[in-house]
Subunit: 322 residues, 2 copies
Amino acid sequence: MRVLITGANGFVGRQLALQLLSQGSVRGCPIDSLLLLDTQLGGFPDDPRLRLYSGSVTDAALIRRVLADGVDIVFHLVSIPGGAAEHDYSLGYQVNLLASLELLDQLRNKCCPPVLVYASSVAVYGAILPARMDETAIAQPQLSYGAHKLMVETALCDLARRGEVDGRALRLPGIVARPWQPNGLRSAFMSDLLHAFADGQTYCCPVSPEATAWWMSAKCCVNNLIQAAELEGLAQDTERVWQLPVLHLSIAQVIDALAARFGEVRRSLINFAPDSDLQALFAAHPPLKTPRARAAGFNHDGNAAALVRNALNLPAKQRRAP
Amino acid sequence: MRVLITGANGFVGRQLALQLLSQGSVRGCPIDSLLLLDTQLGGFPDDPRLRLYSGSVTDAALIRRVLADGVDIVFHLVSIPGGAAEHDYSLGYQVNLLASLELLDQLRNKCCPPVLVYASSVAVYGAILPARMDETAIAQPQLSYGAHKLMVETALCDLARRGEVDGRALRLPGIVARPWQPNGLRSAFMSDLLHAFADGQTYCCPVSPEATAWWMSAKCCVNNLIQAAELEGLAQDTERVWQLPVLHLSIAQVIDALAARFGEVRRSLINFAPDSDLQALFAAHPPLKTPRARAAGFNHDGNAAALVRNALNLPAKQRRAP
């Protein structure tokens, strides 16, 4: 089994690569080669199954070299984040849209369609969400990032219908807890809050305590990406886009879980200065029902305590911090 | 005012070009230059306002030359029809998707966003239509043609939201009466029926008399395209896609109108041999309500008699044929 990860050096990509190396097989077959593609790659274990390709996903000739010996499963994760893509439209257009279309085009294979797992995003829905949402909610992107994700979903569904690429698109919520760094993600505050609390640092939260958002840990996300690859026997005309289940939590609920883990005293380190843009984009997310995704084996973290544990890679049981 | 038509040699493009030359102005300003782009161009009047560009819309350098002196309004009509694009995927992908994206990208202009009227299609809905439809129907394309149209709609809405292209997409039904010729359009039978009856020829109709489809004449379509360009003061976040009003007529109703125009005796020249594929794709169209499009000034032909008259360029009043 030959498996490719684009954006393999990213926050989710790296954890996915390590998980695949660790479990050693997917879709019932051993992973012989794990091909990693990213602009820079470093810090991966010395494993004979790894093939590292440093370069841009926008380099069509590089993609041809990567795919030259065939590929069975592709996890297409690379993307310019929403805020950065909105600011530098051309970069987002090249990476998020054109490179994805080129990759899909190169993957077309009627005889033996490769499995493609595509990391789409809840950004496809736009900022105006219904009061109660389910998997039939209409996509009306309000960022170029979301528009391009939606377009790639449409292309993926078309090639699946044609039997040329066995695509599966997952709409991901904000994934936590990303490392502290400027990353162009408008949802970065969700990760920053977790890190700050865990590290006992003061933090000024840019949304209110009542703000409700959709949460998922990277660990849970990786499990869902692999589950997407595992799905067997999808008909060509099966709906190929799944909204992942999400934990629908207020900032206050997340802080409660953090306080239960790290101590009540740290609550005082968090203060609030809501930013109207962020509040509008991320902080009024409604409940989201996903029975179809649940039936396909996709899950969220379970509860706020598990989210905190998974997101910060904490052991399952730990003595209360002093 | 500089106006560009892509696909200007096509069935609709040619009539649009002649109408624009005839009316001489659009959006309240005289048309100084009418730029026509198509793979071949011929038979246009000798008019000093015309600029002919022969070549492919997939030639990005040609598009740059066409747009070099700026453009105020673009009618982007060129496309590989649904049947042909399904058969030759790569051609449809290059023309219907990539060339459209490249054109949109070249049109981006924050200072003075050009008006772009895009000919989208009812093919975006796919074959499985609800029993009663309105403008909120979900797009689930079942042909690559429809998938690519939907993707370009998404791109157009994104660039409108960004204030870089003042886009307006119209979802067109099958347009009649196209000339007799193999053109890769699955809906060609709708035109063929009209021509056959008008010419007094026998015709074997590939859908049943009860089959209901959506109809519009090229004349009506041209009026709608121009109306789309005329819309003033659209906010950036206004919904930029309109489902055009359509005449919802059975084949029997169209034949009744043809018989009223050309004589009852010709009914006997039409027989029926329904093709299951065509029947599924075109012959079970539900009623379609379009109050939003109506409010924006878009119209269908009015009734079956007017459709026949407009589609065949007949005078408004005519003595009954013998």
